[in-house]
Amino acid sequence: MKQRSTLPPTEELKTKSLRIVPPSGLGVWLTGLTAAAMSFLAVFAMALALTAGLVAQNWSSELQGRATIRILPSNENSAQQLDMLLQILAQTPGILKAQPLDSATQTALLAPWLGDDIPFDALPLPQLLDVTYAGERYDFEGLRLRLAAELPDAIIDDHMQFRGPILAAAQQLRWLGYGALGLILSVTAMMVVLAANAALAANGTVIKVLQLVGATDRYIVRAFVRRFALRAFLGACFGCLCAVLALHYMPKVAENSAFLRAFGFVQGQWIWPVALPFFVAGIAYIATRWAGYRKLKELI
């Protein structure tokens, strides 16, 4: 019965401190489960938000950076007017390209309304010009005013009335996705906190025994925190994996739909589903630590 004081190797100690929490206890298990289920949903919400963002970007980039100028048919020499316009545009900073539309393109534009068999050449139609500009440096309003002053027959149009609603719709979808994501992540955090709390309550006997054999608060909390953070991490990994697989093998309900076909992650976006488990584990870590110390205070 003599005093023992040899310290065991650190590794052995660590293993022991981990095993003190029931490896398959109710609470640990539920934490993992919650993490998995909520991660699964979160990945879908992420996909929704990111895809909506992508689609919004596509939709807008199709129109972004392009404007149309039309020169109304008038008494003046139209070729001369066109030259003058091109000159003005050449002086305008930010304009990348300005190209008169040929009749084929014009026909295509009007076809939906007038049919494609109109003798365009015979019609006194306006001359259309397709202008490409570089986002920032281009001053739409300045150009409009200059044209009004110098070349009143040329009217510029940046398609805002068409682009606006489409962009708004895509933005709304994106907001909705982020909203759902925020909602799901909050619910995840809340449920992990509560599961950890509940689990600590369920492990009352373990904590009591540990306290009575002289374990410090730090020792007890560390054991729980590790187990829970690990379980939450593994659960979240599993949930994310399932979600990613589900996304991949999802029945493409509308094959002809660009939106659903794009639904998922592209390249750099993969960081999000990969980061999620770490986020959830972090929440579990903080939640368990907090709940653990609180619970211990409660038990004296």
Binding site: M1, R4, S5, L7, L210, Q211, L212, V213, T216, I300
Partner: protein
Amino acid sequence: MIAFEQVAYSYGGTATLSDVTVQIASGSFHFLTGPSGSGKSTFLKLCYADLVPSLGRVSVFDQDTHALIRDDLPQMRRRIGVVHQECQFIEHLSVIDNVILPLTVAGRAALPKDVTDLLNWVGLSSVVGMTPAALSGGERQRVALARAVITSPEIILADEPTGNVDWEMSLRLLTLLVELNKMGKTIVVATHDLNLIRTVKAQVAARVLRIKDGRVLLAGADL
């Protein structure tokens, strides 16, 4: 080593213990007896600061348990071995891991030979690999005793350590405590078994505390 000064304790209603003034000297051997529900377990809980007195003061290792701050408790508990009446274990750990738990949490290693000797003495060598749930009532009590003495603590408090074991085993367990007492440990054993007290008193200079109506009295030679 343990001093009660005009201690009273009540769980809410009438006082379970009142006006208790007792000194338990270092190296002494005390029995604690009294009818069921008289407050034996309560007395022991006051000794290891699981409860703090409603009135008066209890000092252990010359420290008032009222004044103990949170971080001091584990240090104090490591110097006291306790056998609880309702033997609680960590049910998913094996018997051997439960026995060496006080060493594990203190970050100390167990010497295999000492552990084996101890388990042999309390007759548990054949069940070390089982989980506590598979033990018989008496085996649980013996595991609890082994856990209490494994660190060789300065004070050992045992609450009915022989309630579920036969007479021969009771004597064996008490002999272990007597040996520890001879090594200088302070021992307090709560028991209702007067025969056991009589038998052990022949071996060691034990004093008997009797709890009656909330008072703790020193019993005479008549028991």
